[in-house]
Structure formats: C-alpha cells, structure tokens
Subunit: 197 residues, 2 copies
DNA sequence: TAAGTTGCCTAAAACCTGTAGGCAAATGAA
DNA sequence: TTCATTTGCCTACAGGTTTTAGGCAACTTA
C-alpha cells in the first residue's frame, strides 16, 4: 500500500489552502484526510489534535503576513511605510480569507509568544518611527493602528461595506490619509477635569 | 411527564447566557438540551437548526447593543456622544463576550437587513452630526469608527493588550481623544499625483 | 369528556474527534 | 541479502453533535 507522504508541514499547508477555499471554520481533520485520500486516524500521527492543526495554520498565516509586511516595509518610512503596511494587511486578508481567519485564532500565551505575532507589533512600532510620538502615546498609536487594520479588514470580509457607495477601496485609502494626518498631529492629553462645557 | 416550557425566545436567551459563560463557539444544541434537561431532538421543534439558533443569538446581541447605544446617545452630541457610544460598545463586549462574539457572526444579507445592525450604522452617522463632515468623508468616517471600535474590542478580548503597559482602558480613552481630534480636522483628499517626495 | 394540537420522547443515520493496536513498507545494520 | 527496527497508514471502536421521522402523552378547547 503506497504511502501518502504526510508530514505536519504538508498537513498545515493543505489545511491553509482548504481554509481559503471553504472557510477556516470548516477545516477539519476529516476533510483533510479526504483531501489526502487517507483514513482519518492516520493524521493523528502527525498532528496532535484538531486544535493543534488549527494552531499550526494560524502560525503559518501569522508568519506569512509578517514576511510580506517586512518586505513591504523595507526602505520605506513615514506615510509610505504606513500605506504599504496597510496594503499588505488588507491584501493578505482578501487573498487568503481562510488563513486570515486562522490568524485570529486565540492562541495560548506561550504559543503566541513563540509565533510571529510579536514581529507584527514590532513592525507597527517601526512605522511609527517616522512620526514623532513619545511613550505612552506611541503605544496608544500602535493599538489604534492594529485596531483599524484588523477592524476594517474583518468588517469588510464579513460583507459590511459591500453593496454601498463609496467603494471600500476608496474608504481604505482615505482612512490611511486620515491616520497619517492624525499621527502627525497626535493630540496631547486633554485636561479631563476642566473642559466640561 | 412535565413539560420544560421551551420556546424559541427562552432557547435564545439561554443560548446567549451560555455563550457568555463558555464561549460562543461552544454553544451547541446539545449543550442547550442538557441545560434544560431535555432530549436534544426536542429543541428542533423550536429552532430550525444549530445555525438558526446561533443566528437568533446574534440578532439578540445586536439588538441589545443597539438599545444600549440608543440610550447612551440620547441627549448627547459631539465628543460626548462619541465617548458614550464607545463606552457602550466596549462595555457590552466585556460584559457579554459570548454575545459579542455572536454579533460577529456572518449573517446572510436579508437576515442582516432585518436585524438591528442597520440601527448601529445609523447611530454612528448620528454621532458624526456633531462634526462637520460632508459626503463622502462622512461615510469614510463611519467606516473608520466602526473599524476602530470593533477592532479594538476584539483585539482586547483576544488578549492582545493584556500584560502590557499602559492599561488598556487608558489607551481606549486616548484613542477616543484622538478620534475626536481627527473628526474635527478631517483631512481633505491629498493630490495623489503631485506629492511623490 | 372527546378531539385536536402541541411538546417532548425514542430511534436512527451521518459526520467529527480521538485512542489503541496491527500490519506492511521503509530503513539500516550485519 | 536478510533480519530487526522504526515509521506510516490501517482497522476498530468509543463518544459526541446534528438532524430527520415518527410516536405517545399532556395540555387545550369545544
């Protein structure tokens, strides 16, 4: 009986492709076994569990995104860097919706720390070097950028902006413009006692 | 044999509570049957399918959020309205993480149109009445606000901001400040040809 | 109180996860 | 080459979830 040549890597890769085709929530050990024309139990020699498989796909996606982002950021700064990073982020999600959904999987802390998630926040910080932001404003800005990118893309993917003008790509571009302007003029902390009216 | 008194409403309510306790992804028809101490098949008289149940929970969550937001917005405008809306959004998600996850369920278009999702975007638009934004900037801003709120809350819920200073609540407040400033000075469309260097 | 309706039941099929143990193919050493 | 070991995929099975079909008992109403 010929062997299928399964490895954790091939399973992860095939799982990622499957996720993009049918949605991450439909990625199952059984479906993957069907894809390799192999019995379900066989996969459990290569992957600990369904959760393990999903985690591997998530880590793959995070790494791919980080690689693309690093590419895009090389040699750019300021608004150019911001726009390039944004483009990568949105592009990856549209190109690989299943992988993008996988990247949203909640990982346990040690797994997350070992993965490429940290590279992401470092790159976001790198973008902000083009702007003049001291701590703690810089951290607030990192969180804002992460929120906008993730929020926009995930709303777009779930169909929130379709069937309504203006086109989503236009809003995206204008939002980058707005974020750039905001980062250049990040407001000081308002005095929360005085300004009541 | 005493009857359990099941109705779609009670199932939806219990399902929402279960979601907050164990996570939306673990809300299952079986689990709900156990909760009511009833056989699984019995639920299918009240709910068409597992997906139907989840959809009902999602619609309940959207409605609850819209109700709270409408309350919070009454009598406020400008930054007050913005901050109140943001507080409701984040508060609901923290108070009811399972319901909030449910609200993120991708609904088919007609279901979404019938639900309270539209009330949300109308309210976001209402907030912007306190700022001087003409179309299409207003739509861009609506999308930005939605993205920030959703993105921030969902990153926070998945643990992105925990274990790192400054406290998440501080960033949230400062991001509201920043959004307020941004909306008051929303940038004109830059001339994309000229500014290359 | 009989008729009709409703509500929860048993039964069963289909599918997914996960474990245990077995046989055959690949590997490597004598 | 052959024999032992390891590795890879298999069968078998146990348990869980979804969903449909059909039945009986409990409410409702006339």
């Amino acid at each position: 009986m010929a062997r299928a040549g399964l490895t954790p890597q091939r399973l992860t890769q095939a799982g990622a492709e499957l996720a993009d085709e049918v949605g991450f929530e439909h990625v199952t050990v059984s479906a993957l076994a069907r894809h390799f024309d192999v019995k379900v139990a066989s996969l459990y020699s290569h992957v600990k569990s369904s959760h393990d498989l999903k985690t591997r796909i998530a880590l793959l996606a995070l790494e791919e995104m980080a690689d693309r982002a690093a590419q895009a950021l090389a040699g750019r700064s300021g608004k150019d860097a911001l726009a390039a990073f944004a483009e990568v982020y949105r592009g990856y999600a549209r190109e690989h919706p299943g992988r993008y959904a996988a990247a949203q999987l909640r990982l346990d802390p040690e797994t997350a720390a070992a993965g490429a998630g940290v590279r992401h926040s470092q790159m976001t910080r790198a973008i902000l070097r083009g702007y003049d932001l001291a701590e703690p404003a810089q951290t607030h800005a990192v969180r804002l950028l992460g929120s906008v990118f993730h929020g926009y893309v995930s709303l777009e993917l779930s169909g929130g902006f379709s069937h309504s003008a203006p086109d989503s790509s236009v809003s995206w571009a204008r939002i980058i413009d707005a974020l750039d302007a905001l980062l250049r003029t990040w407001p000081d902390e308002p005095d929360r006692e005085e300004r009541k009216a």
